[in-house]
Subunit: 203 residues, 2 copies
DNA sequence: TGATTTTACTGAACACTGTTCAGTATATTT
DNA sequence: AAATATACTGAACAGTGTTCAGTAAAATCA
């Protein structure tokens, strides 16, 4: 009797359909301007249907966020390829910032907007855990071979993540306008600043 | 004929009334949950009235943001008192982070939410300019006496601001949950990380 | 002072938001 | 074939930012 199995599969497919429609809307119109009705229109279902698969908008956002972290992780694995630990760290920083600049809406969902964090308590490690581990391992290797000034792993993780996130998020939220950097120079400036920073804290 | 003058004054007073009601709502219920109707209720006027003084919500937010930057600047002048340049930088970092932790709603308005930046182009330097100058002068002094590793002023400003903002904003948006730091240890951790960072980039 | 114009304000209305739920139509089981 | 279970709808609710015709008070003019 394969009916319940098929139903289960169909349910998953429907969730995937909703999720991908949500992602499409986010990339086209921005997370902030995408409503449940927009997503429903996209897949030609009624708004109510979405609530049969996700208990609220936050849960849907959390699910899309999860995929977004998957993409960042993939970017890490593709670009952080060096055998030299400090060089790996540089590649990691460059990848993070480039990802943020090239995927502003995903970055918003992952690190800036409040919404997807209103999810049930204990599952907070699920999203982003892989990416954090990647950074953590990279830094642990640096510390192990003594090429990092800071020797506490958690402190190092926090510091480098904060710097990278600060650069990306200040830019995404237009706060760097106050510094009057030319628009087209911004990416290079951010990358150079990150590179510079990593050089400062390694030896 | 003092009538136009009085009218002008009354107009200013009304703007001030609206602004302070907005601030009150922001601090009590959060920026995100405060509507024009809430603010109108607070001052016992109709919603439409607010639009006689501010062309839209963004303009009001921008005005409140301006005051918030004033408060940060005041915090700088009160806490950054040392004569030693590097020590001043440490005081600045500590003040920034403490301000962010103690005034989360104001910090949101100043550095995170999109809204108040949708204001007419060229006046972007107005809000936050003073605070940026404060940091800029502090770092210029460090560079002048050769106590900073980085020698480019703009690069230094960007790096230290990004780090501080990264720490505060990741925390305000609950993204540090992934690191499983105990809630009560967060402020100390952030301050220690900032202090540590400044030590790394100075000599 | 009395009539007229200007100003300040109201609150209903518009188009939107997330979310719920009675009703319906289809698919599955008995 | 009848009964049940599932999937979906779309109107409705309470909220949002914003507009604007209508009103009442204040300032100006005669």
């Amino acid at each position: 009797m394969g009916v319940p199995e098929r139903k289960e599969r169909e349910k998953m497919e429907m969730k995937e359909l909703i999720k991908s429609a949500a992602l499409k809307c986010f990339l086209e119109d921005g997370v902030a301007k995408t409503s449940i009705r927009n997503i429903a229109d996209e897949i030609e279902y009624s708004p109510g249907t979405i609530y049969l698969y996700y208990k609220d908008k936050d849960e849907l956002l959390y699910d899309v966020q999860s995929d977004a972290f998957g993409k960042l992780w993939q970017a890490f694995t593709e670009n952080v390829t060096s055998n030299n630990t400090v060089e790996r760290l540089q590649q990691l920083g460059k990848t993070y910032i480039t990802f943020g600049l090239q995927n502003p809406e995903l970055y918003d969902l992952m690190f800036i907007i409040r919404a997807p964090m209103n999810v049930d308590e204990e599952i907070h490690k699920a999203n982003g855990g892989n990416c954090l581990d990647f950074l953590s391992e990279c830094l642990a290797a640096c510390i192990a071979e003594g090429s990092l000034i800071v020797t506490d792993l958690n402190a190092a993780v926090l510091q480098i993540w904060a710097t990278a996130h600060g650069l990306v998020s200040l830019n995404l939220r237009c706060r760097l306008k106050v510094m009057q950097t030319k628009e087209e120079e911004v990416p290079d400036t951010l990358l150079a600043t990150m590179e510079n920073y990593i050089r400062s804290v390694t030896k």
